[in-house]
Symmetry: C2
């Protein structure tokens, strides 16, 4: 099933793939309005923290002039890692929707789940597996292309 | 006992306190040489991810021209949160030394421990409680001043 908000994140993930980056994209919505989107840029920026979620959160903070994104929803094509999940909780994001599960480094249920530990007093709502097939295939196609090169 | 490397992080933490920020400081060493240090700037930057560790890691990546800080040691006055611990592991830092434990949001043993979960294939070595009293007092003094104002 199509999910228009996840499609915004998927469009960003496709931009990452075109740039040779691992295709992960994120989009942030406030009252159903897209306020920020970004894709993984770890290679081009040569920064370990240039994940899609982090870049989208920074942009949203600039747009809103506030580091608290309390009423925002974040859509991301891959289950967030510890760094991104921590940032999502610190930014007080209300709801997280992710696509593919990450059994290796996901901390929202894929490998471990830190979202139920009440870290930072966060009450983040988490919904995984949104457009899962589309999000997963984008990643597996990317890695199979990398292996074939 | 004094620890010269943790003192570099403590000096940064004191700068944070002077600026009205929660006093947490971090310092990164490569072959016993200080290559980067930073303090918490969440308020002044209005960014949820402007923790001492993140800012110190970004500076170190710039200094070394590499996002992999594989042979580096990071000293920080407070046990890292999920965001910072994730970033420390992603940056492939070798050893983490922290001062005060954080029973509320620490994920290196204080509240939970995600450093033994083999996330990102990390083999981070973790040493807590370095100059613990000095690091803790800086934080408790800061918060008692805030309450008295």
């Amino acid at each position: 099933m199509k999910n228009n908000k996840m499609q915004a994140a998927l469009n960003e993930a496709r931009l990452a793939a075109k740039a040779g980056e691992v295709p992960v994209g994120a989009a942030i919505f406030l009252s159903d309005k897209l306020i920020s989107s970004a894709h993984n840029e770890t290679i081009s920026r040569s920064m370990p923290d240039a994940h899609a979620e982090i870049l989208a959160i920074r942009k949203a903070c600039e747009v809103l002039g506030d580091w608290r994104l309390s009423d925002c929803e974040l859509y991301v094509t891959l289950e967030p890692c510890a760094m991104c999940t921590g940032t999502i909780m610190l930014a007080k994001i209300k709801r997280l929707y992710f696509g593919a599960y990450d059994a290796q480094s996901g901390v929202c249920g894929g490998k471990i789940d830190i979202t139920r530990e009440n870290l930072f007093g966060s009450n983040l709502e988490v919904y995984g597996g949104i457009c899962e097939k589309e999000c997963s295939e984008l990643l597996s196609d990317f890695f199979s292309n990398v292996r074939n090169k």
